[in-house]
């Protein structure tokens, strides 16, 4: 028998309504299983969201952070660190290098009552945009990287990456110790972290250690060719060149600096870590830089981390992975400390752990408020991997 058209439509509408109701019920069940994130105590499932770049210009930071976090979660769950059968889970959401996407995804994440905590965007501008949102929704959020001002601004925002300026003194001390007194600075003045070191902290440290800044050359983030500035620097023939540039800029500046005839010491930044100097080939050999983590660290924790990371991902961990890993352990310790995985409990716990500090793969971690500090480590790139120059207490 042929069903009349209007009845077919009614049936279809009823089916759609049933599916919608079922979805709501299912999500309610999910919430009950995962636990409403405002309830005190530790549920069997603690749901986290990673809202960070998995694609886009700084995808390497988000991918590294996510990998480090995943490794930490598997160790936390396997060891029963939070109690028998308690599982941390994380879902990664790609912000694709966009502030608008980060903002929209964070709005959804903070509104989701099953989310206990968030691992926030790695890009400074994204992080600074979502930080006020985090406070309004009162969801504890741990950022990695995101070195800008305006990120750690309230009780719910935390950062598991030490500002580069806080351990750049290792570089200055090395230059002073090796009597590399005449120094030229080449820096990206439109990148806040590098501008702060190039114009602020490094000149002060250099003055304190008796170093002479021969020249200070600012460039922009859009500068691609360094032939002109490096020729001037090579002409000055300083004992060392402090290079504060982004990844592709570093490769170019190094290559052109060597081609311009400069064969002195080049001091870089942690941006050169993670094999980013590989493309510079022989021109990158011998570059020294301070970083918050290196696979060359010799502490037991660092060695175990490197081995476990290699086994799981088939490559050495970079600084982003180490920050993601220590950030996740900070979170796990916080839940254990407060005895609660509620948003308020996690916030309390994170603050308490920050007060006490703990040992991570980056060394003895201390905190200034909600902001992490690391001892730092000085490494040399030998063309294929990092070698330890001084560990700054990280090992």
């Amino acid at each position: 028998m042929r069903v009349p058209h209007r009845w077919r439509r009614l049936r279809r509408a009823t089916a759609c309504a049933l599916v919608a109701v079922a979805a709501v019920v299912m999500s309610g069940c999910d919430a009950a299983q995962g636990g409403i994130a405002t309830q005190e105590g530790i549920p069997k499932e603690i749901r986290l969201l990673g809202v960070r770049d998995q694609t886009g210009p700084v995808a390497y930071a988000g991918i590294g952070g996510a990998r480090g976090g995943k490794l930490a979660i598997s160790e936390i769950n396997r060891s029963g660190f939070l109690g028998e059968g308690v599982k941390l889970t994380i879902e990664e959401i790609d912000t694709a290098g966009s502030i608008e996407t980060a903002s929209a995804e964070m709005a959804q994440a903070t509104a989701d009552r099953t989310v206990h905590a968030i691992m926030g965007p790695t890009q400074g501008q994204q992080a600074a945009t979502v930080a006020p949102m985090v406070e309004r929704a009162q969801v504890p959020t741990i950022f990695t990287q995101a070195g800008s001002d305006g990120v750690v601004i309230n009780d719910y925002t935390f950062r598991a990456t030490a500002p580069m300026a806080s351990y750049y003194h290792l570089a200055t001390e090395y230059l002073a110790e090796k009597r590399l007194r005449d120094v030229s600075v080449l820096y990206n003045a439109t990148y806040p972290t590098f501008a702060e070191i190039g114009e602020g902290s490094f000149p002060k440290q250099a003055d304190r250690h008796g170093l002479n800044i021969v020249s200070s050359t600012p460039v922009q983030s859009t500068t691609q060719d360094f032939t002109t500035p490096v020729r001037s620097i090579a002409g000055e023939d300083p004992d060392a060149v402090v290079m504060l540039l982004t990844e592709p800029q570093s490769v170019t500046a190094l290559t052109q600096l060597r081609q311009a005839g400069y064969d002195g010491q080049v001091m870089g930044t942690s941006v050169q870590g993670g094999g980013n100097l590989t493309e510079a080939g022989k021109h990158g050999e011998g570059v020294i830089y301070p970083t918050d983590f290196s696979p060359a660290l010799t502490s037991e924790k660092a060695r175990d981390f490197v081995a476990a990371f290699r086994e799981r991902f088939g490559r050495k961990p970079d600084v982003y992975a180490a920050e993601g890993y220590d950030g996740m352990w900070w979170l796990a310790r916080a839940i254990k400390e407060s005895g609660s995985a509620s948003r308020e409990g996690i916030k309390r716990g994170l603050q308490q752990v920050a007060k006490d500090g703990f040992e991570g793969v980056m060394g003895e971690l201390t905190f200034e408020g909600n902001d992490m500090r690391v001892p730092g480590v000085l490494v040399r790139w030998n063309g294929t991997s990092e070698e330890l120059v001084s560990d700054g207490g990280a090992s």
Partner: protein, 296 residues
């Protein structure tokens, strides 16, 4: 001073090779291709992937990048711009849709390169080519710079003269003035458009390979930065004038080099683009453009 001039010439040559491809398509077949930067980047990326598996000399790497660029641009024309132009009701709406279409097309190679490299810089480390440094009359330069300057000026002048004197060049210029009348005069617009896009892509690939050799490495975002500069060069030189593109490229590179040489690196974009702005205030049609905007 002479060293700075040489640096400016080298930088201008890279800008020129890149901008020529864009100017060629824009000033003849009316396609302002916003995927030109992505074509440049993805051609170099393709050559990078190939050199990871096969050690190749510089000419072979350049050839791979040129072929990749030509292929990408041809596909862009066949799959995106061609259908857009056929469906557009008038030239104005076609231009706007092509502009948006170009942005959409550019997102695809960019996403692929970013995914594969995790946005880390990439170069031609697998190539057997090693730049040699030498000095002539006290000027220090590399073999890469020499190749770039010769290629840039040679191709720039070659394209300019070819457009001015050859039959195909005349046909292309005719399309630029009035495509309908040109068709009535027996000019095969579709075939010429395809050939122009392939040449434009090949030039993007050449620029991609040469710039990557010159810089050591580029990143997936490098094409976008060059795209803005190429746009400025074409407008500065005057739309429709290949000679203007040549001059525009060296004016922009000269301004940038001058500001860098003055150790005012943070003012590079402001001064360079400010200079272009001033020129356009005085000569809205660009340095060598005609008063009446015509694509010739």
């Amino acid at each position: 001073m002479a060293q700075h001039i040489l640096n400016a010439v080298a930088l201008g040559s890279v800008y020129l090779v890149f901008a020529l491809g864009m100017a060629l398509a824009w000033s003849t077949i009316g396609i302002l291709n916003f995927a030109h930067g992505a074509t440049f980047m993805f051609s170099a990326f393709t050559a990078h992937v190939v050199t990871q598996h096969v050690a190749m000399p510089m000419p072979a790497v350049v050839l791979v990048a040129v072929a990749a660029g030509a292929l990408i641009a041809t596909l862009t024309q066949v799959l995106a711009f061609g259908p857009i132009m056929r469906k557009a009701t008038d030239h104005r709406s076609a231009e706007l849709r092509i502009l948006i279409g170009g942005i959409g097309v550019a997102a695809i190679p960019l996403a692929i390169a970013e995914r594969v490299t995790a946005s880390a810089p990439f170069g031609f480390r697998g190539s057997t080519y090693q730049a040699q440094v030498f000095e002539v009359l006290g000027l220090r330069m590399t073999t890469t710079v020499l190749v770039i300057v010769v290629a840039g000026i040679g191709i720039g002048v070659g394209v300019w003269r070819w457009l001015a004197t050859s039959r195909q060049g005349l046909a292309l210029r005719a399309i630029g003035v009035d495509s309908e009348t040109a068709s009535l005069m027996g000019v095969d617009r579709s075939t010429l458009a395809l050939g122009t896009m392939a040449t434009s892509g090949a030039l993007a690939g050449l620029a991609g390979a040469l710039l990557t050799f010159q810089l050591g490495a580029i990143s997936p975002a490098s094409g976008d930065q060059l795209l803005i500069k190429a746009f400025a060069i074409v407008v500065l030189g005057g739309l429709g004038s290949m000679g203007g593109v040549i001059v525009g490229a060296f004016v922009l590179a000269g301004a940038e080099t001058f500001v860098l040489a003055m150790n005012q690196g943070t003012w590079v974009d402001a001064v360079s683009f400010g200079l272009i702005f001033v020129v356009l205030l005085l000569r809205p049609q660009g340095l060598f453009g005609r008063k009446e905007v015509r694509r010739t």
